[in-house]
Symmetry: C2
Subunit: 204 residues, 2 copies
DNA sequence: TTCTAAAATTGAGTCAATTCTGTTTTTATG
DNA sequence: CATAAAAACAGAATTGACTCAATTTTAGAA
């Protein structure tokens, strides 16, 4: 039986995350004061810091949920990719990008990215690096899969290529969240244009 | 004649930057308190905020100097590139990377990058985006130059390719500054490995 | 049921960036 | 040279993230 203490703990975790997510959306990351999050979650300031090391870690928990959903959605594409290289890449990266603003606003992404480079050794910093790595690995897996079914040349270094594709997408995504007026279709088109060079180079 | 006011202004600018650069190096960005920078520069706290909107902008001024030096050094390579594509790229990107830790520590880079994504519309945020763009344009110029001398196929989209190469290098550089133990030669080798795929694809 | 150690909560206090409001210095004008 | 407007300066006050010592709650042994 899950003791009272464990249940209360889980409940408080949930309340803090929900309060923070709501306030981050409403007021932005900086605008959401810890005091307000505490009040809305009906805990004290001290308790929040008992659960999360700092404000960034709260945002980190939300980012992790979002990225894990995306990774999950990506698995289907890797298992069963479209029958040409360009479409396969576009489909997988498309899933990443289309999902990206589901729970997180651009401002929240900006903060999350900033924190992850600012404090790479904090719990969230490490988690974020891990998420990037998982996405890279998924792209690598797609390339390897395409090699298996002979859509990509066998002599291609799939590991290096996967990282190259991820890095380019990620950098484009960073620029995308930095500009509020940037739009998803434009971003996808730009990434496709760059990947076209690769697609031409690696097809059998 | 440059009035007294203008001269004092330039002098104070210089003193603030010098004090900040020294303290950032000694104590790190967070460790360098504004109060200490003000004391060392022999101005008041208020004056610092009269010259720079926030602490990040002071760091920004230092980063700009560094990147501008790098851009300058890069011009020579674009004007007179090595006679094969792989070496040409390696030489230009090598200059960027080897220069990168001249004035700035990894910790300063982390802070600078973080601020530029966190506040893309602040003076420094915009300047940083501009610097990234200048570097991208320089890589594009190199590709175009290589096309002129027939080392790169004419049908390659040099603009998209230049951006792709920059994005990949930049992302690798971000990961590099996030890990204190990462070394420059390893970074350069990883980038070369990725670019090899491209080099094979675009050569005549 | 009662008691005690461990775990968790609380919120007033600390610290440092940034803002704000008078004061001083510089410049331009008669 | 006197003076008023403009610009720059100073540092006390504000603000908000985070800490820590005191208090409360829970688990489980007697």
């Amino acid at each position: 039986m899950s003791g009272l203490r464990a249940r209360q703990k889980a409940d408080r975790h949930r309340r803090i995350i929900e309060a923070a997510a709501a306030l981050f959306r409403e007021a932005g990351y900086e605008g959401a004061k810890i005091e307000a999050i505490a009040a809305q979650a009906e805990v004290s300031i001290g308790t929040i810091y008992n659960y999360y090391q700092n404000k960034g870690d709260i945002l980190g928990a939300i980012v992790s949920m979002e990225v894990n959903e995306v990774l999950n959605a990506g698995r289907g594409v890797v298992a069963n990719p479209p029958a040409n290289v360009g479409d396969a890449l576009d489909t997988l990266l498309g899933i990443y990008i289309e999902h990206s603003l589901h729970y997180l606003s651009k401002e929240m992404w900006r903060q999350a990215m900033a924190i992850s480079t600012q404090m790479p050794d904090s719990p969230f910093g490490q988690a974020y690096t891990g998420l990037d790595r998982s996405l890279t690995d998924q792209i690598r897996a797609l390339i390897a899969r395409l090699q298996e079914i002979d859509l990509v040349r066998q002599d291609i270094d799939s590991s290096a290529l996967g990282e190259l594709i991820f890095n380019n997408m990620n950098m484009m995504f960073i620029e995308f969240v930095k500009r509020d007026e940037a739009r998803i279709p434009t971003l996808r088109a730009a990434i496709r244009r760059q990947n076209r060079i690769l697609v031409a180079a690696i097809g059998v």
